[in-house]
């Protein structure tokens, strides 16, 4: 088991290097730092000196890969690739283009993101599984049919509509909770209720439909027929057999997104003015702050790969058959 985990972690290293090279190419090779400087300074008042000083301020005034003016190891370390890209491996994100410490910002902003993402995930899971079980219990009846119709319609509505419509209805018409904002500590709850509810409702369509398919697939299997033939009640069959076995794909699907919860949701956070990592990323995109976007790309990939490793491990834990292969 340990060897398996170590192998999985080792396998992640070349992938992270690949991501690193990809971001490096995307941010520094396709467009040179000169282009970035010109973009930031505006096209009109660009002088070569202004570009140089912008690059010096942000540490982009080095060669990309090889510095022939330095001596010894500094030939490779005093380059953009080493300073900006390789340092990401130490989780040293450096300064943003506006001069703030990215690592500190991330550590501050991940908590509001988690405060929304974690409840959305777990309440959503509870709601979706209960609803899907209900549909599975009433399968091939009108409840099943109209539920599926409802779910497909809910899937077809843009997430933007849930947010705008929910904000309008709950905050503006009914005045139940503030439209947007954030506070520290427990005072944050009144700001969190609406985004969490909207997040859960927005996920019902796709989530419940997927779980319904899983349950129905499981219900048609032989061991379920055996259980029924033994004379077990439908309730027992559903909860003791079907639910337990269908939970395997559901759980692994959840484990894969667990680490990514840190990243928050771009849209929800920006609509509700929550100072999480999602709105951090959006602000960076709108301000064209390349350093932050680069850091977030790398962080996101690390978390995704972590999710994959956790999935593999959880698979071996819940399904012993996988361990053998």
């Amino acid at each position: 088991m340990m060897a398996y985990i170590i192998r999985r972690v080792l396998y992640a290293i070349p992938i992270l290097i690949g991501v690193n090279i990809l971001t490096f190419v995307l941010f520094f090779v396709i467009n040179s730092p000169d282009d970035m400087a010109r973009m930031h300074l505006g096209v009109k008042r660009v002088t070569p000196e202004a570009i140089e000083s912008w690059k010096r301020e942000h540490g982009y005034d080095k060669p990309l890969l090889y510095n022939d003016r330095a001596a010894g190891a500094a030939r490779f370390t005093d380059t953009i690739f080493f300073q900006k890209s390789l340092k990401l491996f130490q989780f040293d994100f450096g300064l943003s283009d506006s001069g703030r410490d990215i690592g500190y910002d991330i550590s501050q902003r991940m908590w509001p993101s988690l405060a929304i993402a974690v409840p959305v995930l777990f309440i959503g899971l509870l709601v979706n599984i209960s609803y899907a079980l209900l549909i599975a219990f009433f399968r091939a009846t009108y409840i099943d049919f109209w539920s599926v119709v409802l779910l497909v319609m809910m899937m077809s509505i843009s997430s933007l509509f849930y947010i705008i419509g929910g904000q309008y209805l709950v905050s503006k018409v009914l005045h139940l909770v503030p439209i947007s904002g954030y506070d520290t500590g427990l005072a944050a709850i009144k700001f969190l209720i609406l985004p969490v509810i909207i997040g859960v409702v927005g996920g019902i369509g796709a989530g419940t439909r997927w779980y319904r398919t899983l349950f129905l697939e499981e219900i048609n299997k032989d061991y379920v027929r055996t259980a029924r033939a033994k004379g077990l009640s439908e309730r027992l069959v559903l909860f003791r057999h079907v639910l337990k076995n269908a939970l395997i794909p559901i759980l692994t699907g959840v484990v894969v997104v667990l680490p990514l919860l840190f990243m928050g949701s771009l849209i929800t956070e920006s609509f509700f003015g929550i100072p999480g990592l999602g709105s951090y990323t959006i602000d960076a995109i709108n301000r064209q702050d390349f350093a932050i976007v680069r850091a977030m790309v790398f962080l996101g990939s690390v978390l995704y790969i972590l999710g994959l490793i956790l999935t593999d491990i959880s698979y071996t834990l819940v399904d012993p058959r996988v361990r053998l292969s």
Binding site: I15, F27, N31, V152, L160, Y168, E217, R294, L308
Partner: protein, 473 residues
């Protein structure tokens, strides 16, 4: 020559896609195993109903993909022959020219005859008072709008319904006539079968859907002749026109994204599964790396870089339209790069299974070349997976466009798209009284398209994957 056609990049690809679809249909015509799933689709009521609606969207999208430089009005004929405007418009623009040209000053509500906000108006005698000014076009034909408005709207709607009923009756009658002649039965019997829904292909459902679509279209056409059916936006542009123009953007994103990713996904996926060994390792490494970058961030990074590039190379684009078009294409490619990995993984698994099948092993032992085997035996056996993926991805991509445009990393802000409409509508919700029509229009148009695409995709998946069909019932 009256017009000078322009073929934008996305236009070319859209028509390539249409050509591919026609070619595929022609190939499938003579092959029973390919026709059978489509027959299943054709016999599904949900499938045919959503297909009718999708066809309307596609027709608008295709008309909107025929671009040209319009002829300039003959200002001064100085011997240069006809002169063309630098502007690029589409055939669809020409058809709905009144919608495009009749713009008001600012916001106006759907079907309104006066502006949304009060303004100072000067009477002929020089005194000034504050009131809602009349619109330039919306309801301009009414002499006493306060009294005539209601009856006029009702009259136009009734007229639209009557016209729709006439067209629908003609279509229904000719369909019955055609079917009766084909089956060699009297027309009256055919009418009875149609009315009771006893035909193999659910023509009754098709006709019902068609009736609804016709009624909606003709009522809107009648109303649009005198009003702004969905109101106007901040700069007075007709919202209905914007929503209709956005159809093409949505369709292009939904279809071209999968089209541009298909070659890579199919080739790499099959090669990884078929050759195994180091080829498999390299390809797996490639797609794991790409898929481990969160999609939104990769798109954001790529679009940011594109903006930098376009800013620094402004001379490379002839017009705003071409620039917006290239950005759209680029967005499709980037979306394709982020979404090809799942299909590739799927195809690899399938190819792994197929290479062990007896007839493939036999072909290997006969000394058939690898690429012949892939083309002859493996590719045809994974095409249904490709098709299912293409259809299933469509609705997700249409929805993704709206979200990306909202974050400003979607299509060009100058391009009509539902995402851009929602993005600009976001501030309008805070006005008092609220301006809801832009948002509602974008949402409804998007909802209908995505809903039909979802329903159709389900039918197609059931048709091509019988294993799923059995376990789902």
């Amino acid at each position: 020559m009256t017009v000078q056609p322009v073929i934008l990049w996305t236009d070319a690809l859209v028509f390539l896609l249409v050509a591919l679809a026609v070619l595929f249909a022609w190939m499938a015509r003579g092959r029973e195993h390919l026709r059978a799933p489509w027959r299943y689709v054709a016999r599904s009521r949900v499938g045919m109903a959503s297909l009718v609606v999708l066809a309307v969207y596609m027709a608008i999208g295709l008309l909107d993909s025929l671009h040209y430089h319009p002829l300039l009005p003959k200002a001064g004929d100085n011997g240069h022959g006809p002169r063309h405007s630098a502007e690029i418009v589409s055939l669809f623009d020409a058809i709905v020219a009144p919608l495009r040209e009749r713009s008001e000053k600012t916001y106006s509500a759907p079907l309104a005859w006066r502006l949304y906000a009060k303004e100072s108006i000067e009477r002929p005698d020089g005194t000034v008072y504050r009131d809602y000014p009349r619109l330039k076009y919306g309801g301009a034909h009414l002499k006493e709008p306060a009294r005539e408005w209601g009856p006029d709207i009702r009259r136009r709607m009734a007229l639209g319904l009557v016209k729709a009923a006439v067209i629908w009756a003609v279509v229904a009658a000719s369909l019955a006539l055609l079917l009766a002649r084909r089956d060699g039965i009297p027309l009256s019997v055919m009418f009875g079968r149609l009315a009771r829904g006893e035909t193999a292909i659910p023509w009754r459902t098709v006709l019902a859907t068609l009736g609804l679509v016709l009624a909606a279209t003709l009522v809107v056409i009648e109303l649009a002749a005198g009003y702004h059916v969905l109101g106007t936006d901040k700069v007075g542009e007709d919202v209905l026109y914007q929503a209709l123009k956005s159809i093409r953007t949505g369709l292009v994103i939904g279809t071209l994204t999968t089209l541009v990713m298909l070659p890579a996904a199919i080739l790499l996926g099959i090669m990884a599964g078929y050759f195994r060994g180091w080829v498999d390792d390299v390809i797996q490494y490639l797609y794991t790396t790409l898929s481990s970058v969160p999609g939104v961030l990769l798109i954001a990074a790529a679009i940011l870089m594109l903006q930098v590039y376009m800013n620094n190379h402004q001379g490379a684009f002839n017009s705003l339209t071409e620039r917006a078009d290239l950005r759209l294409l680029f967005l499709c490619i980037i979306l394709g790069i982020t979404s090809w990995t799942s299909l590739c993984r799927y195809l690899r698994g399938e190819a792994l299974k197929l290479r062990e099948v007896d007839y493939v092993q036999a072909a290997v032992n006969f000394g058939v070349g690898h690429f012949t085997i892939i083309g002859r035996h493996i590719l045809p056996n994974v095409l249904h997976i490709v098709l299912i993926t293409v259809v299933l991805d469509f609705s997700g991509l249409v929805l993704a466009e709206a979200v990306l445009s909202y974050v400003n990393i979607g299509v060009d802000p100058s391009m009509n798209s539902w995402g851009n409409m929602i993005n600009s509508a976001r501030l309008e919700m805070a006005r008092d009284p609220i301006v809801w029509w832009s948002l509602a229009a974008a949402m409804i148009f998007m909802f209908v398209l995505v809903l039909c695409a979802n329903l159709f995709a389900d039918v197609v998946r059931d048709a091509f994957d019988p294993r799923l069909r059995n376990s789902r019932d």
